[in-house]
Amino acid sequence: MTDLIWLLIALPAVGAAVLVFLGRRLGEPGAGWLATVTVAASFAFAVVSGVGFVGGTVHPATVELFSWIPALGVDATLLWDPLAVTMTLVVTGVGALIHLYAIGYMHGDPRFGRFFAYLNLFIASMLTLVLAGNFAVMFVGWELVGLSSYLLISFWFERPSAAAAGKKAFIVNRIGDWGFLVALMVIFAAFGTLDFGTVFGSAPEVLSVGTATVITLLLLVGATGKSAQLPLYVWLPDAMEGPTPVSALIHAATMVTAGVYMIARTGALFELAPVSQAIVATVGVLTALFAATIAISQRDIKRVLAYSTISQIGYMIFGVGMAAYTAGMFHLVTHAFFKALLFLGAGSVIHALGGEQDMRKMGGLRTVMPVTFWTMVIAWLAISGVFPLAGFWSKDEILGAAFAKGGLYTGLWAIGLFTAFLTAFYMTRWLAMTFLGEPRWSDDVHPHESPWVMTGPLVILAFASTFAGALNTPWRLALERFLEPSFELVTQSLPPESIGVVAALAGLSLVLVVLGIVVAWRRYTTAELPAEAGRFWYVTLHGYWVDDLYGRVFVLPGKALSAWFAAVLDGTVIDGIVNGLGRTVRGFGAAMSTLQSGWVRSYAAVFGGGVLVLLVWTLVHGGVI
């Protein structure tokens, strides 16, 4: 069974290939169903071949497919272990639901088939990433998900903003990929191989603390790009230009968590570099706070969720940064459920309102779209971290681990806790502005509940968001035990041992969450939306002008430098020298050509003179005179 896990990648890949060529012929909804079936088949296969890990009947294994780059000794290998299983199940499970949803959402799009080809391509790429058995194959997946992300964000390429957003996403991701790439260079130089098993196994003997720190910080650069962390998060809010299923699948549930997965996977290296761990955790928690403050004032229904995603991934990075890998992965899983749910719900709303995304023109949708509303309520409670929904367990496990670790991490814990309050606040604001209060949409739109292919996935995900917390409660560490084989080489940070401390911490965060909900509830369930004026709102609405800052500091000077290279250095200096040499030679030729008088007798005189000189020289040289 394990030998066949390449099928997990092959199924959606074949689906993508078929759809690229035959998508138009299959038409709607055939193309969508084909895509959904391939992903669902992958999911089923993953369940069947991964279930053995629970009972311990299957052991982690590396599958060698073929020799890929013999020059580097790199083979195409896949690694099948509980960590990969977890990610695979999330990717294919949530992926299949979102595929299904997209059949309804993309209804009537002229490039329906192409859309599903891209979605399938993404699933195949993401599975390559998570199943990779060495760094090179992981990098392949790492870049290919960037490609699929680009294709899907720019799917409606007729809109210049969509095209620009796709490009921005890919380029910013590539900046992160550069860090990953350099990390691979250092790893290859240090180990002579990129194979996970060898690298992690021999890391303690081979790596000095300095080299380990360098490698892990470079990996962090990669993670900040892919997972939209400070300072490379800027692409994700723009990525909302893509169709909403894309936002749900790629920019909420799966691809953006690749950085978390990667840090968890390379935990054996981070283990050797405590400094890096502290930096990773700090980056994570600061991102969580930073993005949450921006999310508060956003008015676009999807941008709130985008910043919320950045913030939540900040939590995960925080978790894996301080070596609480299970907690980080746990939050990754639960977040995949409720964030996908939120996005799909937002998509349902947008779909119902004919493309409207401004929350100030929504409100009062709870009666019109009951299924969407109630599933959103669950998602809202889950992400806010209300007991006993999924977000509560996973978030508090991370915070608990931080508290238990102490030192610097206590400070980070406090920030994380405050962020939980902010999260509850902005998510309540989001829910209230969308579904509660009075309708503010214009008269010519007629919102309606979405078809079953869209609400079906909502219900399933709502179910998952409610109960996923049971995966890893403090009493029953199912996920932790499941993931055990993957984290054998690392020492995990765990929440406090004492159930009392855990309960106290949970209670504290629950109080803050409820406080956030109450404050926002009172503020936003009024008939009129409160005026969001003032410096704080203004600054955060514009995201602290980080995009402008990057534009001014990097993009404009970069373009100016390029233009200077092209015009001055190439055009004037180098070509000036070349053409100047040309002119000099030509001028010299013109001067010499006046010697070419055309008078035969002058030539004869010069010739005779030359012969005479040679003659005299010969005689003198020969000693005759």
């Binding site: 020059a71 390429f157 796709g166 890919f170 790439l181 260079m185 290859f188 130089a189 360098v214 070349v578």
Partner: protein, 515 residues
């Protein structure tokens, strides 16, 4: 033994003669005849590829016919893992380039003859084992290329053609001087007036100062061909003004004469000088990577943009070559072929667009992905292949180069990594401006998507790019031994030791770039 390589060179020559001999009143025969004439060398090249003994480091299918015993000149041909794929690449690109020349209406016959002679010259460059024969082929290439740019080029073609020829001729003068000097030294060794036989030159034991001079003489010619910053300004002009097929061949094969020359002659014959100058050359390569990419970003002309991207990509090859590691050089050879495929394809695609709209200015387009969806898809594919997307061939080359150069030149490898970012910027920005958004210019609304002939031209390239990206092993298996032999020669004749990545790697203290 069957003289495969001579036949390989002769086939396009015979083709050229056949095309030239076609009756004047049957102009419609010229195109199919030329296409057929370029398909024959492809078949021959595939035969060579098939019969090539993998795992052998030395030259194979050697032919040697001596012309002059005392001067040591002869018709000596041979092929090894380094030249094998360049020969195949040449043979693959020419039929496609000729097939893409359907729109040439003016003096078609002369055009096709030029193309076929060019092919013969390029094939000759890669299989010559006699330096004088090599030089002859190296120079023969100039003539048809000059004609192609000068006669069938666009706009500023006269300037571009002249610049191209003068630049390269300038370098060739040094090359000839170097070859003759080397031949005289070799002649002393083997007891003749001179010897131009490459294999005689392998055990010369030149003093390091002699090596330095000869390295410089060979190096200038090859650096211009590559081209290396700051000797590169002929390239954008030549690529831009050349007709489509000319650009394809220029970028696809002609530039590789430079990188091939560095590897075949400089590294092999002057190992001490190569070791001494490796870092200088690698720095120049990295400057090329960054500079070419940076300049490409702001080009308003899409062909010029791709031309500058070539400078960037060729910088990678040079970096890999002068990193002096097995991986770096193997990656470099691989990248030579891969760049030929991707950039050749990009030029073919631009040519197809140019045939429709007769402009290469980026701002004359916009939103044409909705008018030409297939074209846009193929272009995007090639753009990503060129930007080194994994699972496509460009990645294998660049990845191997970067991982291979880090052990010896860590700082440069890290900076070269930025080239990967810049590649994404210039390609995607160009794609955005040409293909996405609404159709702004009404004259673009009626553009026809790719026709079957055009799809047939790019399809083989797509297949090759994917195949080489997913399963490069057959190719690397053949390149590997020959590259190892180069490294072993350097190690045998100098005190340089190529680092083997791994826990035992000793990175020289002054180069441990990071701490």
């Amino acid at each position: 033994m069957f003289p495969a390589l001579s036949v390989l060179i002769l086939l396009p020559v015979l083709g050229a003669v056949a095309v030239a001999a076609l009756p004047k009143r049957r102009p419609e025969l010229v195109f199919p005849m030329a296409l057929a004439a370029s398909a024959l060398p492809l078949g021959m090249a595939l035969w060579v590829l098939w019969n090539f003994e993998a795992g052998e480091a030395g030259f194979q299918m050697i032919e040697a016919a001596v012309w002059s015993e005392t001067l040591g000149i002869g018709w000596k041909l041979g092929i090894d893992g380094i030249s094998l794929f360049l020969v195949v690449l040449t043979a693959v690109l020419f039929p496609l380039a000729i097939a893409a020349s359907r729109s040439i209406a003016d003096r078609t016959k002369a055009y096709m003859v030029s193309m076929l002679v060019l092919e013969a010259g390029l094939l000759g460059v890669f299989v010559s084992l006699d330096l004088l024969v090599f030089f002859a082929f190296f120079e023969i290439v100039l003539v048809p290329m000059y004609l192609l740019i000068g006669i069938w080029g666009s706009g500023n073609r006269a300037y571009a053609a002249l610049k191209f020829v003068l630049y390269t001729a300038f370098g060739s003068a040094f090359l000839l001087a170097g070859i003759i000097a080397l031949a005289l030294i070799t002649g002393d060794q083997v007891g003749a007036t001179a010897s131009f036989d490459f294999r005689d030159m392998l055990d010369l034991g030149l003093s390091s100062s002699t090596q330095l001079w000869l390295f410089a003489a060979f190096g200038i010619a090859f650096a211009i061909k590559v081209p290396l910053f700051p000797l590169h300004t002929w390239l954008p002009d030549a690529h831009t003004e050349a007709p489509t097929a000319g650009s394809v061949v220029l970028a696809g094969v002609l530039l590789k004469m430079g990188t091939y020359g560095f590897l075949r002659f400089n590294l092999t014959l002057f190992p001490q000088a190569s070791v001494d100058l490796a870092e200088v050359m690698a720095v120049l390569g990295v400057i090329g990577i960054i500079y070419g990419a940076a300049v490409a970003i702001v080009q308003p002309d899409v062909k010029r943009l791709v031309a500058y991207s070539s400078i960037s990509h060729l910088g990678f090859i040079l970096l890999g070559t002068f990193a002096l590691t097995r991986q770096g050089i193997q990656g470099g050879v691989f990248q030579m072929v891969s760049h030929g495929l991707t950039t050749g394809a990009l030029f073919l695609l631009i040519g197809m667009l140019y045939d429709r709209r007769h402009t290469r200015r980026i701002d004359a387009y916009g939103g044409i992905a909705s008018v030409m969806p297939v074209y846009a898809g193929v272009f995007l594919f090639m753009a990503f292949a060129s930007a080194g997307l994994p699972s496509l061939s460009g990645f294998v080359g660049e990845f191997t180069i970067l991982l291979g150069s880090y052990p010896t030149v860590p700082g440069l490898a890290i900076v070269a990594g930025f080239g990967v970012i810049l590649a994404a910027i210039y390609l995607l920005w160009a794609y955005e401006r040409i293909f996405t958004g609404p159709v702004v210019h009404p004259e673009n609304e009626g553009l026809k998507d790719l026709v079957a002939r055009e799809v047939a031209i790019v399809a083989p390239l797509i297949v090759l790019i994917v195949a080489l990206g997913v399963y490069p092993k057959p190719m690397l298996d053949r390149i590997g031994p020959s590259v190892d032999a180069v490294i072993e020669r350097i190690e045998a004749t100098t005190d340089y030791v190529a680092p083997i990545p791994g826990p035992t790697l000793v990175v020289r203290a002054d180069e441990a770039g990071e701490d």
